[in-house]
Structure formats: C-alpha cells, structure tokens
C-alpha cells in the first residue's frame, strides 16, 4: 500500500513538473505563431501589415504577464481546455489532439507492447540457448536493427514495400474514400495503413528488448536459485520461465517504462515520414508553426501518457515482485 502511495506521489509531482516545463519551453522560443504564419505566406509574396494584424487578431496572441499566463495555463490543464489551435484555427486544440490520439495509441501503444512481448520472449530464448546460433542470430540482427535510424528504416520500407512493390499504402491512416466508422472494413483499412509505420517501430525497437531481456536473464541464470532449481531436477522449461525469466522480467519491465518515451519520440519521425495523422505528426507541425497551445497540449499528452504508462508499469512491478508489497 505504501508502495502504491509513493508511486502516486511521484506520479503527481512529475506531472506537475512536466506541466510546468511544457509551459515554459515554448515561451522561451523565438518568434510568435503569427510570425510563423506570415513566414509561410511571405514565401508567395509580400505580406502587408493589414494581413499581419488580421492574422494576429484571428489567433489571439497570449496576453498578461508570464505568471498570469501560467495560472491561466494551469486552469486550462485542469479543465482540459487548451483553447484554439494557432495552426489549425479555428479548431480547438482538444479537438485536434483527440483526433490524432487514437492513431498514435493504435500505432505506438500496440506495436510497443507487441515489440516488448516478442522481444522479451526472444530474449528469454537467446539467453536460454546461449552461445548457439539461436542466441547469436537474434542478438546480432536485433542489435543491428536497433541502430537503424527510425526515419531511415521508415524511408526504406516506404520506398521498397510502398512504391516499388506496391504492397502497402504510402501515406495516411486510412484510404481516401473510407469514412471513419466503427466497422470491420474501416478497422482493417486502418490496420493496413498502420502496417508500414508499425513495422518500422517493430524493427527498430525489437532489438533493444531482446538484448535487455537476454542480459537480465543471463544474470538471473547465474543466480543461486536457478542452480538450486536445477539441482532439484526441475524441468528446463520451468527453470527458464518460472525462475530465470520470471525474475529477469522485473528489470526489463522498468526499462520498458523508461524506453516508452524514446519510442514515442521515434514515432514523431516515423509519423512524419508516413504522413500518419498521429500525435507525432501533429507535434512536428505544431513546433514548426509555433503553435503554443497545440504544442503544450501535445507535450502534456505525450508526457502524461508516458507517465501513466510508467505508473502502470510500477504498479505491475509491485504485483509481480512480492518484495515491494511490504
């Protein structure tokens, strides 16, 4: 119980810090959203002062001193009202975020869990079959693939599987004629479109889980309780899974929570390459467009998601490890 309370305390404190950081960061950046909009227009020709004023008026530039802005911001966070997006005016930020969120959850959340489970299983296998080809092959290919830059993998997959072989759609989250609805057809269409970005994330993140689990498991395999279990003649599979892997998963689980931030970050690049309408794509556009409200909401969304995931991981850790239950 104490453990859960401590985790909740840490969760809330980190949340506050993340919220404040989100507030400060964009405000330290040069230029205003109006500047960004005008820079875009100025590429096509001179922009008059009138246009600038009109855009400024449409966007509603933040007012008040920094402290008032902060209070207003905190109020927004609590009420989940982030105002109107600058780059997607007149749409509200919440609208944009909620539109993009499901796609990223489907893509990143799903794939990360698959990658973690798969990587962990392969890691168990490699450690158990240490120094055989069953170890060397996944370990090497995995660690090689994990050094691929996200965007590079994405580009190559896009090129070869998308444009050359025409196996997968090349952009978007669903086909041009599909309409979002809770139907089977739409669902499969979404999965089909998510395939390449998902594959990218899977390829580049799998290796990390394999190596992490392999190292953790090699450690537990050297622990006395594994030797003792062998001495007691337990079956190989029982020793591998219930003794070695079961204990090795604990450090790997902590790693999972922390690596989640990295995967979400990588998905920014992946979504960018595939034009996938998720949080990452939106974030990049918001940064380029200096869209404070949208950026803040997205950052908050990402950080809170990672925090929640970490919190859940911590709780799961508590369930899996009796030593934390005291």
């Amino acid at each position: 119980m104490m453990y859960v309370l401590r985790r909740i305390g840490f969760f809330l404190l980190t949340l506050w810090a993340a919220v404040t950081l989100n507030f400060l960061l964009p405000r330290m950046m040069p230029g205003s959203p109006t500047d960004a909009a005008i820079a875009k227009l100025a590429q096509n020709g001179p922009v008059t002062d009138a246009t600038r004023k009109a855009i400024e008026a449409q966007l509603g530039v933040p007012d008040g001193n920094i402290f008032e802005q902060y209070l207003g911001y905190l109020h927004q966070v609590i009420t989940l009202d982030f105002g109107v997006s600058y780059t997607f005016y007149p749409q509200s930020v919440s609208e944009m975020v909620w539109q993009a969120f499901p796609y990223t959850v489907i893509l990143v959340g799903f794939v990360t869990i698959i990658a973690f489970v798969l990587g962990t299983l392969i890691g168990v296998l490699t450690a158990w079959k240490r120094n055989t080809w069953l170890d060397a092959l996944p370990t090497l290919t995995g660690s090689f693939a994990s050094t691929f830059p996200y965007f590079w993998t994405a580009l190559l997959l896009l090129f070869f599987l998308g444009y050359v072989l025409h196996l997968f759609p090349t952009s978007g989250a669903f086909g041009p004629t599909a309409t979002p609805a809770l139907t089977w057809d739409f669902f499969t269409d979404v999965l089909y479109h998510a395939a390449l970005p998902a594959l990218t994330i899977l390829i580049t993140s799998l290796g990390g889980w394999i190596i992490g689990m392999r190292n953790a498991m090699i450690n537990t395999l050297g622990d006395d309780y594994v030797t003792f279990a062998e001495a007691n003649g337990l079956k190989g599979r029982t020793v591998a899974i219930r003794y070695a892997a079961r204990n090795a998963i604990l450090p790997n689980l902590t790693g999972f929570g922390l690596a989640l931030g990295g995967v979400v970050g990588g998905s920014v690049l992946v979504e960018q390459v595939f034009g996938y309408p998720g949080i990452g794509y939106l974030l990049f556009n918001a940064v380029i467009g200096q869209d404070y409200p949208l950026m803040q909401a997205l950052f908050l969304m990402i950080t809170v998601s990672v925090l929640i995931a970490n919190f859940l991981v911590d709780i799961m850790y508590g369930v899996l490890d009796p030593r934390t239950r005291r």
Partner: protein
C-alpha cells in the same frame, strides 16, 4: 586473476608509476577476446580512420558541385551525384567526420554530466539526493526526441554546437541513474569508509576511490550515449533542425529527401548514409557487449552449458 609477478628485478623507478595500467590492459584484452566487441572495435577504427583521412580518401571535395545532377553510379562517381551535383561518395566520406565527432563529443559531455550528477547523487544523502532523484526521473520520463525538437527550434543558429547541447541536455539522465546505483553500491564498501578514516575529503573519495572503480560502467555509458547521440544528430539533421549547410550523414539524408531521391530512384542516396549511421552505431553497441562483460562477469562469453 593471475598477472605475471615480475617484481624482483623491478627497480624503484619502475615501481613508482602505479600499476593500474594493468587493469586497462586487462580490460582491453577482455574486449579484444570477445568477438562481438572485436568486430565493433574494427568497424569503429575503420570509421575513425576514414574520418581522419577523409581529405585523402575522398575523390572530390565535400561540397564540390558542378557535376552532372542526379547522376547514377559511374566510374567517376561510384555512388552517383546529388541533386546539387555533388559526389555522393565524397560526401559520405566527409560526413563521417561529423558523426564521429558528434558521437564522441556529445557522448563524452553527457557522460561527464551523468558522472557528476550520478556520483554526487549516489554519494550525498538526504534532501539533496531526493531533489536530484526527482530531476533525473523527470528527465528519464519526458520523451527525449520531442523535447529535442522543441529545444532545437529554440536554440537556433547553433549548428553542431546546438545539436550537441540538445543531445547532452536530454541524454544524461540514464547514465546518471546507472552511475548512482553503482556509486551507492561502492560507497557502502569498506574501502570508502576506510578512505574517510584516512582523512580524505569527500571530493577525493568520490573521484579517486569510487570513480576509478566504475570505469567499465562509465565506458559503457559513454558508448551508449555516443550511440544515441549519433542517432539523435542524424534525426535532427534529417528533420532539418540542424545546420543544413554542413555535410553530415544526416544532412545528406535531409537533402536526399528534399530533392526526392526516392523519386529519381537514387535509393542509394538514402540507403548509404543510413547504413553508415547504423554501422557506426552498431560498432559502439558491439563494443558495449564486451564492456558489459567486464562490468558483469556473468555476461562473459563462455563455453556452452
């Protein structure tokens, strides 16, 4: 454990320098004995040599243009030319300088930050430690790349210096955490208490007693940080958030993407720089297999069960 004991003939002068280099030689031997890290060291050495001798190796200048644009591979241009009429192979060769340098510098700096914070965090107790704990956890949880993108957009004009700064700001936390854990383990060791009884000041205990015992972990942290620095640099350059006027693997990819290398079918323009990035990162990862084995004997290569 058995090192040759050839002390009888050793003169006083020969004894004078402490024989801690034995430890380093031993570590190097262990690294070399591990085929994974040996492969990594060889690849890394190749890249470093290419980076150093780039002007000698490259057939043309890094941004020498005026060749036929978007040319396919030919005897004059092994990997073809870019949309701006530059030689791809020369750019790849010169690009190694940036990646190697960024990896090394950013890796080193974030390792230093991680070291200072991790060690003091592990050594001090009480409120200060709690505060550091909180900050480190915060940096661990906050997604790095989005943070980098925002900071990169903020720290304009900096080019490589900015990129290195961003990578260091977002990249030290993991190392600090690992080093703290190790510091806490070591600080409970008797020799640390003994050093206090020898009248050693705190900084000396931290840097002379604890730190040298974490060499392999620091080295591991360094290689890990360098790997992510190389990848982050490429990512930021690819997004166009760095200095697009320099020649690095990231900017080659940026320009390739910008000039539709996929459309002209010059996939080598995308493939080669990415592969170089991956190989360089792989070499560091492979070396780390060996470094891990030094800090954790269980991970050493051995005969099959």
């Amino acid at each position: 454990m058995t090192t040759t004991q050839n002390l009888t003939s050793a003169t006083e002068a020969a004894i004078k320098p402490p024989r801690r280099f034995a430890f380093i030689t031993r570590s190097a031997a262990t690294l070399w004995a591990n085929w994974k890290s040996r492969l990594g060291l060889i690849i890394l050495a190749c890249f470093i040599l290419v980076a150093i001798f780039a002007p000698l190796l490259a057939p043309y200048g890094a941004s020498q243009d005026g060749f036929e644009r978007n040319a396919d591979a030919s005897p004059e241009h092994w990997f073809g030319t870019t949309a701006a009429g530059e030689d791809v192979l020369s750019q790849l060769i010169y690009g190694s300088q940036i990646s190697v340098a960024v990896g090394f510098i950013a890796g080193l700096l974030s390792t230093i930050v991680a070291m200072v914070i991790g060690l003091s965090w592990g050594y001090i107790r009480g409120f200060g430690a709690d505060v550091i704990n909180f900050i480190v956890n915060l940096f661990l949880v906050i997604p790095g790349l989005p943070l980098m993108i925002v900071i990169a957009a903020y720290l304009q004009n900096g080019g490589l210096v900015m990129i290195v700064a961003v990578i260091v700001i977002t990249g030290w936390a993991w190392g600090a955490r690992v080093l703290r854990a190790q510091t806490q383990t070591l600080r409970s060791r008797d020799f640390v208490t003994a050093a206090r009884f020898s009248g050693e000041p705190a900084w000396r205990i931290v840097f002379k007693e604890i730190l040298p015992n974490m060499t392999s972990i620091i080295a591991g942290g360094f290689f890990g940080a360098a790997t992510s620095a190389i990848l982050a640099e490429a990512g930021l350059e690819f997004l166009g958030l760095g200095d697009s006027s320099i020649v690095s693997w990231g900017t080659i990819l940026y320009w390739a993407q910008n000039s539709n290398a996929l459309l002209t079918g010059q996939w080598i323009l995308l493939f080669a720089p990415g592969l170089c990035i991956a190989l360089l990162a792989l070499s560091l990862t492979l070396i780390n297999f060996g470094v891990d084995a030094i800090s954790n004997p269980r991970l050493r290569e051995g005969k099959s069960r």
